[in-house]
């Protein structure tokens, strides 16, 4: 599976696993909020086992990693935050503008809860790490986080959120980025700054 995927293979996988993963996100949420009776919970459990068996007839022994396509794209379908095949991922869709500024809008429901009704503080850090690092990414040269500092200025309610990040300055191979999370009313709830490092590309 490590040979590059053709556009046709990409499309077929998106057509089958995309909707399945989206349904799985709904199932994760329902598992938390369900008040179904015991018999229905046990039947649901049996169906989950059956679905897993079908998908597991052939399993890649490795995590998904990063794969390439014959038309030069990279696929990160297993990524915990943006992966099309990862039901943990909201998924986050990061937009970058011509300056390299990055932003993402997303809605977080019950599965991302920490304190009652609020996004877990660590999930805010996860979102900020990813969106800040996007300011430092270059095609084929992903950036690694060096340090990340997160300041919690107000609780972040579950619901609609916007994450924004921009470059503060460059310093050799390091990008110093800043960013924040805005709640549905547009108020800043969490601020962050980070240093991101692009590994030197061997000539």
């Amino acid at each position: 599976m490590s040979s590059p995927l053709t556009p046709d293979e990409v499309q077929r996988t998106e057509d089958t696993f995309g909707p399945l993963t989206q349904s799985l996100r709904t199932l994760i949420d329902a598992t938390i909020r369900s008040q179904a009776d015991d018999a229905d919970v046990r039947r649901a459990h049996a169906l989950i086992e059956e679905a897993t068996a079908l998908l597991s007839t052939r399993l890649d022994p490795e995590p998904f990693g990063v794969r390439t396509t014959t038309d030069g794209r990279t696929l990160t379908w297993g990524n915990v935050l943006i992966g099309m095949r990862n039901a943990i991922a909201p998924p986050l869709r990061v937009q970058r503008d011509e300056n390299g500024d990055a932003a993402a809008e997303l809605t977080l429901g019950a599965p991302y809860e920490g304190p009652p009704g609020l996004v877990h503080g660590g999930v805010c850090a996860l979102l900020l790490d990813h969106v800040l690092s996007a300011t430092a990414h270059r095609p084929g040269a992903p950036a690694f986080t060096g340090t990340l500092t997160v300041r919690y200025v107000a609780p972040t309610p579950l619901g609609r959120l916007r994450v924004e990040a921009w470059t503060d300055r460059h310093d050799g191979g390091k990008t110093h980025a800043k960013g924040h999370i805005l709640d549905a009313a547009g108020a800043v709830t969490v601020q962050a700054d980070g240093v991101f490092i692009r590994p030197k590309v061997k000539p």
Copy 2:
């Protein structure tokens, strides 16, 4: 559902939703690594939809939050990192010793991937936020993160990990905590320090 649960209700829910959620974690992983053919993927998708419908016959409109039991326990079954009913949660099980030091051992597989074969840097931040904050928790008085700084000193491989945290100093209602993540070989991959705040309890 906001009235306290009896020990019997707790046990019954653990007996039904515990194994279901564990199976759901396996399904999330299989969805990422599956190489099943299209027909099996479509059948698995239909089973997932069926399971969701069974669980959704009665859905709490609210996220799980924190619930209490008639014997004085608190339940955080929906928590993104420790929740018994949250399939996103590994789940993390944090142990605290008599000094208030906190530690957790866990194994992270394909669903927590960022760079190929590595734990997403933001997931490391999420783990550290939670375990560091545990040093500041008191019964009935959860601590909120004020600031968290995370330093990435080496890549964190997927697999067995240990997270450790300890109190550096107290300062009024603030706990200054430090901690790190150790890989399977016992090497530090990520360091963190944070300031955690306990809201004043009204008399």
